[in-house]
């Protein structure tokens, strides 16, 4: 919306918009920058709108990508936690049993053994 307002007041830097475009080759960027002087204000507005749309779409795509990545990692963590919960009874019951049945020195050793896990 801010960009649109700026566009309406003709304050958008068209050269920067062209430069920032992810769709144009260097040659195409040069082409459009060279064309700017012969465009009317309306035509410049039209051109700006194309690049602003592109920027908005890119922003949206990046937002979706970020959300998907965050979700993927969160899923991973939740699944890992679930798996842990499933195994922990065995894991810690076994560990506690081992400790209970050990002597003090052995307990120390076991603590060291378990710590990495």
């Amino acid at each position: 919306m801010v960009q649109l307002a700026r566009l309406q007041t003709a304050q958008v830097d068209l050269v920067a918009l062209i430069e920032n475009s992810v769709s144009l080759s260097a040659e195409q960027k040069a082409y459009w920058k060279n064309k700017l002087p012969v465009l009317s204000r309306e035509q410049q507005g039209e051109l700006a709108r194309i690049f602003l749309d592109e920027a908005a779409q890119m922003e949206q795509a990046k937002g979706q990508q970020k959300q998907s990545l965050v979700t993927a990692v969160q899923d991973f963590v939740v699944d890992a936690e679930t798996a842990y919960n499933r195994e922990k009874q065995q894991l810690w019951h076994g560990a506690e049993e081992m400790v209970k049945h050990s002597e003090v020195q052995e307990q120390e050793a076991l603590l060291h053994l378990l710590q990495p896990l």
Binding site: Q28, Q65, N85, S102, E106, A109, L111, L117
Partner: protein
């Protein structure tokens, strides 16, 4: 991360647990001595486990990272953390650490069954975690792929919108809409006719009327249908009556029209245009057309019609002049002098008119000329000072030329991007005529002449060792360029005739990008001395000579190489420049760099640039060796 907290809590609990050791196994196998012994053993193993403990801390950190980070920026480190964790557990398993630990504890009081259960549970958990990690990596790759596809869609959409916008700004009348509407019914008739089916069996397959969108789509499809030995008159007989000038010069229909014209004669200017388009499509250059006519490949030659072509010149030249005359005649009503050549660009002709110190570049679609509907003034600028050339604006499609000029917009002050002057001295060249004229060189049509030789003059006094075959292959190419004085110049370059179109394309890029060229004069002017030519910063091509310091023939000797602005683009070897007065500075105008559009264009056309050589950098040098020196 509850499971991590559980680990911590459990470790805490274990570390605090100091209750009496109760042996649940009634028939204990351990005696006090054995326990003591075991304690000593485990005591020894503490060191070993301490090492593991340090590694374990890293593991814990990595796993903790999994839960604590979730922002986008940290996803990579999360992934790395997961990977580290798995690598560590992998290492533990791969090194058989657990069996080692089991062995270490074997002779202690610990119940081996319990230990086994514990390690089994650990292994299961780890395996499952690895599976999850693999899925995570796959998922991330999928997300990235989806993102890339999305970006490509956005790019396609932007390109498409820009194309439409561009065409609307600078339309090529007749290319799209007009042709798309008219020809279908005729086309269907033509394709359906048994004659066409027999003579041009590929036509129906190549040209499905339902898929017809007009424009250049047809050129490509249809050109394939005409083998080199096509008897054009036969084609003409089949389709000539169907077309009757109703189609533009841009499609197949233009080529069919081209055939039809032989029968009709050149009644209309737009038919000449179509014919020329056909020529150009079939034959790259005038010399090609001449050769084709002489060798009877090209059966139709308007040049033989003395009534229409009193000049007696070959077909291609005749057509060029006929179009020129036609255009000049058509616009006399504007009372404006025609400046320069008429250029053909696609289906339109571009010409330049000068009126009251204002230059109008005009694109006129020859097809639409018939009903006088399309005339595009696409560039208007003042001639007061070309160096600060002012674009005045553009106007599209007025009804007539006079109207176009009337509607041309008023000046706007927008600076141009002509090259900065690095060499303020105007070039000294005895060949340049009328140099005292103040406005000379300010338009393409008024270019300063640096060289105006005939082919014979350009090849005069060449080394007698030069084989006839090589000489015959050399073409004298007229080129227009902006020199360091900011003015248009016209020069000439000798290259192998098969490279002529490449050279023309590259010089067009130079003009488009306002890349300055000092001068382009055939090297005969310098007595075939490369040193003298380089010293004068001359751009040159053919020179029958050996490579410097050797006996092997240079690619220049066959017209396969070009040297451009030697002073700005010297050959650099072991810190020495050739020519010695040359200096390579990337930011100096007229200097070639790897990313420069001129270098890119050469590369695109299959040329090699000496600037990328390893042993020496020959920045001025471009070459494209062709296999056979004989003609096409």
């Amino acid at each position: 991360m509850r499971f991590l907290q559980d680990i911590s809590r459990s470790l805490f609990f274990l570390s605090r647990w100091r209750g009496p050791a109760q042996n649940p196994v009634e028939s204990s196998i351990y005696s006090a001595a054995e326990l003591e012994n075991a304690g000593q053993k485990t005591g020894k193993s503490v060191d070993f486990l301490n090492v593991k403990t340090a590694e374990g801390k890293e593991l814990m950190d990595a796993v903790t990272a999994l839960g604590s980070k979730s922002s986008e920026n940290e996803i990579a480190s999360v992934e790395a953390g997961a990977r580290t964790f798995l690598n560590k557990t992998d290492a533990l398993l791969a090194r058989n650490e657990i069996p080692k630990i089991q062995n270490t504890l074997k002779s202690t009081s610990i119940d081996q069954a319990v230990l086994t259960r514990f390690t089994d549970a650990l292994t299961t958990f780890r395996a499952f975690l690895k599976e999850l990690y693999t899925k995570l990596v796959e998922k991330i790759a999928g997300i990235q792929k989806t993102f890339q596809e999305r970006v490509r869609t956005i790019q396609t959409s932007v390109q498409s919108r820009l194309d439409i916008f561009d065409k609307r700004l600078f339309p090529s009348p007749g290319l799209d809409s007009k042709e798309a509407k008219i020809p279908k019914k005729y086309l269907e008739e033509i394709i359906a006719s048994p004659d066409v089916k027999n003579k041009l069996p590929g036509l129906a397959a190549e040209c499905d009327p339902k898929a017809f969108k007009g424009g250049n789509q047809w050129n490509e499809g249809v050109l394939k249908l005409f083998p080199p030995d096509t008897n054009i008159q036969e084609v003409q007989r089949i389709v000539g009556t169907k077309l009757d000038g109703k189609f533009g010069p841009h499609s197949l229909l233009s080529l069919l029209l081209f055939a039809g014209l032989a029968k009709e004669g050149q009644e209309y200017a737009h038919k000449i245009d179509a014919w020329k388009a056909g020529f150009r499509a079939r034959f790259d250059s005038a010399s090609d057309a001449e050769a084709a006519y002489k060798s009877n490949v090209l059966k139709v030659d308007p040049g033989v019609d003395k009534d229409k072509n009193p000049t007696g010149k070959p077909a291609y030249k005749f057509l060029k002049e006929a179009v020129h005359d036609q255009m000049a005649a058509q616009f006399t009503d504007a009372s404006a002098p025609l400046v320069g050549d008429i250029l053909q660009q696609g289906g339109s002709f571009i010409f330049t008119l000068k009126l009251n110190n204002r230059v109008f570049k005009i694109s006129k679609d020859m097809d639409a000329a018939q009903d006088d509907t399309a005339c595009l003034v696409y560039e208007v600028y003042s001639t007061e000072n070309l160096r600060t050339k002012q674009y005045l604006g553009l106007h599209t499609e007025p009804k007539s030329m006079a109207e176009a000029l009337k509607k041309a917009p008023e000046p706007r002050s927008i600076p141009s991007e002509l090259p900065k002057q690095s060499d303020p001295k105007p070039i000294s060249n005895p060949d340049a005529s009328k140099r005292d004229h103040v406005e000379k060189g300010e338009t393409i049509g008024d270019a300063i002449i640096d060289s105006n030789m005939t082919r014979e003059q350009a090849l005069a006094d060449v080394s007698k060792k030069c084989p006839r075959e090589i000489l015959d292959n050399q073409a004298l190419v007229d080129v227009t360029y902006i020199s360091f004085d900011g003015k248009y110049h016209r020069g000439q370059l000798v290259v192998d005739k098969r490279l002529q179109s490449d050279v023309e394309e590259v010089f067009q890029v130079m003009l488009d990008t306002k890349f300055p060229i000092h001068k382009v004069i055939p090297i005969t002017k310098y007595g075939w001395s490369d040193d003298a030519s380089m010293k004068d910063n001359n751009t040159s091509g053919f020179n029958y000579r050996t490579i410097a310091g050797g006996e092997k023939l240079s690619n220049h000797a066959k017209g396969f190489s070009i040297d451009i602005n030697p002073l700005q683009n010297p050959e650099v070897q072991n810190g020495k420049n050739n020519p010695p007065t040359g200096k390579y500075e990337k930011n100096t105008p007229g200097t070639l760099t790897a990313d420069h559009p001129v270098v890119q264009k050469f590369k695109e056309l299959g040329w090699t640039w000496g600037g990328t050589w390893e042993s020496k950098q020959d920045y001025q040098h471009f070459e494209k060796p062709l296999k056979k020196t004989s003609g096409k």
